[in-house]
């Protein structure tokens, strides 16, 4: 009797568990299915662009298929040389500007952040508040005076207006990010270094910098992506096609108005975002942490 009822009870419990697990699994499957569909919609435009870059031009429009009738790989070399100058030049320009901007921004922002986070000086709070206020200023307000300034000193049509400001700690976002990071490093380390005979500069360079690689990496990565994608700056300051960065060159592609070049256009568009894509894949951790903790774009 008792033996049986225990068996029964356990059977009921087992059945209940099976039902519950089944329901849970069904919910999980539904969720995954839904997310999968969402992601498909999300990436469809990108995939479409990739496919279009190797499609014959007459298949690009009015055709939602993701499989070309033939692969026109020639779009890539043709697009590369599709403008008055080869994309080698534009890539070289973009790389020069971006690399220098990354170095400049990382160094100058960490400089300012070190002062704000670790050093004592008169007026620190006021300067910090002013720095935070620059966060609110839209670029468009300073755009015209900056342009006039650079025009006056003859920097228009050079890379300098795109690079020099990066060495002047103009990105309050990154200064703030690094201030936050530096503040959570133990102050004892600075003091130990002080007693070990370090100057403030040596503390910055030999203690703070090596310990702040995550914050520096986040800054460098975002500066890279934003500078690489930057359109307005080059649009204003670079007028000679020999100085064009990749985004400007792409824009020239569409303003040429030749209908037959869409394959090439897409091929070059894809090449233009490859560096960002590669960075994203490799540095996802930093990027995601950077956004989650500081609200970077």
């Amino acid at each position: 009797m008792t033996d049986l009822s225990i068996q029964e009870a356990s059977e009921i419990a087992h059945n209940y568990r099976v039902i519950r697990d089944k329901r849970k699994r069904r919910a999980a499957i539904t969720k995954h299915l839904f997310l999968a569909i969402c992601s498909l919609i999300m990436v469809y435009p990108l995939i479409w662009m990739i496919v279009s870059s190797v499609k014959p031009d007459n298949e690009i429009f009015g055709n939602i298929s993701l499989w070309p009738s033939e692969f026109i790989w020639q779009n890539y070399p043709d697009g590369w040389n599709g403008l008055f100058l080869s994309f080698t030049v534009f890539y070289k320009n973009s790389i020069i500007v971006t690399v220098l901007a990354v170095i400049g921004n990382t160094l100058s922002c960490s400089f300012a952040a070190y002062a704000f986070a670790r050093l004592e000086f008169k007026g620190k709070n006021i300067f910090f508040a002013l720095m935070m206020m620059t966060l609110m200023i839209p670029y468009h307000v300073v755009l015209i005076p900056q342009y006039l300034l650079f025009l006056k000193i003859g920097w228009v049509n050079t890379f300098l207006p795109l690079i020099v400001p990066r060495f002047l700690a103009g990105d309050a976002f990154f200064i703030f990010l690094m201030v936050q990071f530096f503040r959570q490093l133990p102050r004892d380390l600075d003091e130990a270094a002080m007693i070990d005979g370090c100057s403030p500069f040596k503390i910055y360079w030999a203690v703070i910098m090596p310990l702040s690689l995550p914050a520096l990496a986040t800054t460098a990565i975002f500066t890279f992506i934003w500078t690489w994608e930057d359109f307005l700056g080059p649009l204003i300051y670079l007028n000679d096609i020999r100085d064009y960065t990749v985004p400007l060159a792409l824009r020239n592609f569409i303003s040429q108005d030749s209908v037959s070049m869409f394959g090439q256009l897409f091929a070059m568009s894809i090449l233009s975002i490859v560096p960002i894509f590669v960075f994203f894949i490799f540095f996802q951790k930093f990027i995601i942490r950077g956004i989650a903790t500081s609200g970077l774009k």
Partner: protein
């Protein structure tokens, strides 16, 4: 010469004065311990000597040099931090060599010194590790190593043992004492742990609320506390304090009754009568007796402490022989001897009644 001299040193934060004009002479080659409850300003004082904290007023000199405006790096001292403050991104070897490198010392000399120190502290096999791969005790050793490798004229320690577990703390204490004997350099050591202070110091400075309560050898502090604060702060467990009233023939204590005091004793007013747990005698005898009931027994193996409630409700702590068996609730007779006790006036200062005779 590397004594340290503090002259009317004051520290304020904004309107808040933390250190109220301290005068202190640290002799060359002594192991001076700054002890006091948390917030008494002992760490601030140490950091001012180190040059990590600005001096609001007064002067600090190391050797014959006034160092008020000398940066920490140029004071030729080293410091062991409570958190150890090892550079996390450097190996133990680099941690040890870092300060020497800043002195532009030749590489061979650096290597020699690091090897020497590693040998003394037995951390040779740890040299290539990073701090996070070390245990607490090992980190502590590296931190000490980093400070002795520079061969400074002054060592500062800021509660260096407080992050260790009890067993390791005792072990490191012994090692520190050994190190001091070996080096003979001036050391200033901050702790809130009075046992550390008693065991390590050649002299102790008791600080409270930014002023010095007493400076002296551990023996002096234990046997001749200059005020009530030092009396209760030094010694573990604490000294018992009984409030008595002075009269013409001596002192009237609750529970114990009248005891007679030497002629130089005050004839009126309140007196704090202090007696350490080991100064009580169980059983009749001495100058006065009382009965009491055991309310709590603390058996420590080598020692035994009894919490005894006297008829007035006052609880005293008494040390007894650990070889005798006691039961809670048991009634006991307790006696005390006047010349073994400490007397503090209404101003909390010591009344030196028997000091000459000791």
């Amino acid at each position: 010469m590397s004594g340290v001299n503090l002259n009317k040193v004051v520290k304020t934060y904004g309107d808040l004065e933390i250190i109220h004009g301290i005068d202190l002479e640290v002799h060359d080659g002594e192991f001076l311990v700054l002890v006091g409850p948390s917030g008494c300003g002992k760490s601030t004082l140490l950091r001012m000597i180190a040059g990590l904290e600005e001096i609001t007023d007064g002067t600090i000199s190391i050797g014959d040099r006034i160092v008020n405006d000398v940066p920490a790096a140029q004071r030729n001292l080293s410091m062991v931090f409570q958190s150890y403050a090892l550079y996390p991104h450097m190996t133990v070897r680099k941690n040890l060599a870092f300060g020497l490198g800043n002195l532009k010392m030749p590489k061979a000399e650096i290597a020699k010194r690091v090897a020497e120190v590693a040998k003394i502290l037995q951390i040779e096999e740890l040299l290539e590790r990073k701090p996070r791969q070390l245990s607490g005790g090992q980190k502590q050793r590296v931190a000490i190593g980093r400070s002795i490798v520079r061969e400074p004229e002054l060592f500062l320690f800021d509660e260096p043992l407080s992050n260790l577990d009890a067993e390791l703390r005792v072990q490191m204490r012994v090692e520190l004492a050994g190190l001091y004997q070996r080096l003979g350099t001036t050391m200033i050591y901050v702790t809130h742990d009075q046992i550390e202070a008693m065991t390590l110091a050649t002299r102790i400075v008791v600080l409270q609320a930014g002023i010095i309560e007493q400076v002296g050898t551990p023996f002096d502090l234990y046997n001749f506390p200059q005020n009530k604060f030092v009396a209760t702060f030094i010694g573990s467990p604490k000294m018992n304090m009984i409030e008595g009233t002075a009269n013409k023939s001596g002192l009237l204590l609750p529970d114990f009754g009248q005891i007679s005091l030497p002629k130089n004793a005050p004839k009126s007013g309140n007196i704090h009568f202090g007696i350490r747990p080991e100064q009580f005698t169980i059983g009749k005898g001495g100058d006065a007796t009382s009965t009491g009931k055991i309310t709590l027994i603390e058996y420590l193996g080598s020692e035994l402490f009894l919490y005894i409630t006297l008829p007035s409700g006052h609880v005293v702590l008494v040390q007894a022989s650990s070889q005798t068996q006691y039961k809670t609730g048991e009634e006991l007779t307790l006696s005390l001897t006047a010349k073994n006790a400490h007397y503090f006036g209404e101003d909390n200062l010591r009344i030196p009644l028997y000091d000459e005779k000791k």
